[in-house]
């Protein structure tokens, strides 16, 4: 594991001061927040942006001619441009605001999928997909008569078996939807390589970037995907706002998803025409404050530097992996090197929910269960795992605390 040298540790713990929520005790112990893969905490700057908007500029967008509406529209569209820049889209029109990753994937499965798939076509996912990148495709397969396939993983080390990629991408496969980073295994998938191959074979691609967007530099053109979805709340932004990126040609060839106000060009009693991109996909009043908060979150992350954030994540995860896997009776899932900022693990004869309940009493926020990955868990023959997931405000001292608490848990359950 290549460790990062000296520099950041002081800087990283200083960033904690930006997060009001981290300054508290839980059950009498300083909070150690290790549930970042579920949602990240929010810095003061994001909270202030929301507040500023509601206190000064609150109005509806794209409709009013008055000053506040102009400001709200400018701020909302400014956020869209910022997202385009954040992920290197060609233009803001390729950015659709959604409620989150889940809604973005549903939009594509409905709108693109229903239009483009026919009986016998194949939809390719991987065995490590989150339910939100699985169930929408399952339903699409049922609606269209298409067939679902899963690119296998190699085992508990959680790597995709790329030797089989070509055979899965051919023979009628129309779309590949896959996660960038696994929220259970911590695997970082080589999405650019895979999308490149898919493109050569004429397969449309969607990347679930829920776990990666706030942790590393994303470049949709370098990845070469057709669609990419993520959630604001996992990258220091508010809940209820997310992003769907789609290449213009793709978005243009798709029918609307939801219909109503804002997404139309003209409406007659018997006929309507659609607004231009991206508004065609944004029916109704959007989450304006959410987009503004997301803008602030992206500024905040880029001031820190996403390359450094990813290095820090990887260093913490590597450290946690080493410490946990050297403990007796602990098994860590996922790759031993190059993992993203999380560790999922099993403790012999202690159920994940008991572990997480006890950890909570020590002020540690972990996650226990199947992490919305039920098929994967069944495949691995596991009921539930405990998971610690990190962000830039977490420290090695906190990982040490986790190790100590796991020792206490072991004592309590006496095994």
């Amino acid at each position: 594991m290549n460790r990062l040298v000296e520099k950041p540790s002081r800087k990283w713990s200083a960033l904690r001061a930006d997060f009001p929520v981290l300054r508290q005790k839980v059950h009498g112990h300083p909070l150690v927040y290790f549930d970042n893969a579920a949602t990240s905490q929010k810095p003061r700057m994001v909270i202030d942006a929301l507040r500023h908007y509601y206190e000064h500029d609150n109005s509806n967008v794209h409709r009013g001619i008055h000053e506040l509406s102009n400001r709200a529209t400018a701020a909302y569209e400014g956020a869209r441009s910022r997202v385009a820049q954040f992920i290197h889209a060609r233009e803001p029109a390729e950015i659709v605001f959604t409620r989150g990753t889940t809604e973005g994937i549903n939009l594509v499965a409905h709108s693109w999928g229903t239009e483009h798939l026919k009986p016998g076509d194949r939809i390719l996912l991987t065995q490590m997909e989150h339910h939100s990148n699985l169930v929408p495709w399952q339903l699409l397969a049922q609606r269209t008569g298409a067939q679902l396939l899963y690119l296998p993983i190699t085992g508990r080390d959680g790597l995709l078996d790329l030797s089989q990629l070509d055979s899965y991408l051919t023979q009628g496969t129309k779309v590949l939807a896959m996660t960038h980073i696994s929220n259970t295994l911590g695997t970082v998938n080589p999405v650019a390589e895979i999308c490149g191959r898919a493109r050569e074979l004429g397969v449309t691609t969607l990347i679930d970037a829920a776990q990666s967007a706030g942790h590393l530099c994303l470049d949709v053109q370098a990845i070469g995907c057709d669609f990419l979805a993520f959630s604001g709340h996992k990258l220091c932004g508010p809940t209820g706002i997310g992003v769907l990126y789609g290449r213009r040609e793709r978005l243009e060839a798709m029918p609307p998803y939801q219909t109503g106000g804002d997404m139309i060009a003209s409406v007659d009693y018997d006929h309507s025409t659609w607004n231009q991109l991206p508004h065609k996909f944004e029916a109704g009043t959007p989450h304006i404050a959410g987009a503004i908060g997301l803008h602030a979150a992206m500024d905040y992350l880029d001031a820190i530097g996403r390359n450094d954030i990813f290095k820090h994540d990887q260093e913490l995860a590597g450290y946690a992996y080493d410490r946990l896997s050297s403990m007796k009776g602990i098994q860590v899932l996922g790759p031993s090197t190059g993992r993203a900022g999380l560790v999922s693990f099993l403790m012999e004869s202690v159920h994940a929910h008991d572990l997480v309940t006890v950890a909570d009493q020590f002020g540690l926020a972990l996650r226990g269960g199947h992490h919305c990955n039920q098929p994967l868990m069944k495949l691995l023959g596991i009921e539930a795992t405990a998971r610690a997931s990190f962000y830039f405000y977490n420290t090695k001292v906190e990982v040490d605390r986790l190790v100590d608490v796991l020792g206490e848990i072991r004592k309590l359950f006496g095994s």
């Binding site: 159920h351 309940t357 006890v358 868990m377 009921e383 309590l412 359950f413």
Partner: protein, 148 residues
């Protein structure tokens, strides 16, 4: 150990979770039901041998957390020889205990060990799983029980 945690993981509970009693398939069972907490991955099968109205024997199999296992284990040890009506009455009292912390169990009753569960709302369904499955097993047309 400290405070609320030791109230939750009482020695009796830890004991029964490590070595669950009546943990087997019951060949002579004439009633059977399955229960699951889908979000947790807990699942159990309950086997009941009813002789008329009386529980002649009862057992379970399955996987789950310490609270779910201990609850199922202690339930089976508490129900042998009870009538169907008595079993239902006990289930109702147990429910009050884990939901509201209201205990009319004597201290010598091992089920009283679950009094601490109500302080951990997320774990109530673990303690209730076996008992809800029992309700299904005691009815004439048992179905799969899900507590979520």
């Amino acid at each position: 150990m400290f405070g609320e945690l030791s109230e939750l993981y009482q020695e009796v509970i830890l004991d029964h979770s490590r070595q669950p009693r009546n943990f087997r398939v019951l060949d002579g069972a004439n009633h059977q039901a399955q229960g699951a907490n889908p979000l947790c991955g807990d699942q159990l099968t309950l086997y009941v041998d009813l002789a008329g109205e009386v529980v002649r024997d009862i057992s379970f199999k399955g996987a789950g957390c310490a609270i779910a296992k201990a609850s199922a284990s202690l339930m089976t040890t508490s129900l042998k020889g009870k009538t169907r009506a008595e079993a239902r009455a006990l289930a109702a009292r147990f429910r009050e205990l884990v939901l509201a912390g209201k205990s009319d169990f004597s201290n010598s009753d091992k089920l009283a060990a679950f009094a601490g569960v109500h302080k951990f709302p997320a774990r109530v369904k673990c303690a209730m799983l076996a008992w809800r499955t029992l309700e299904a097993a005691l009815t004439e047309s048992p179905e799969r029980v899900s507590t979520e």
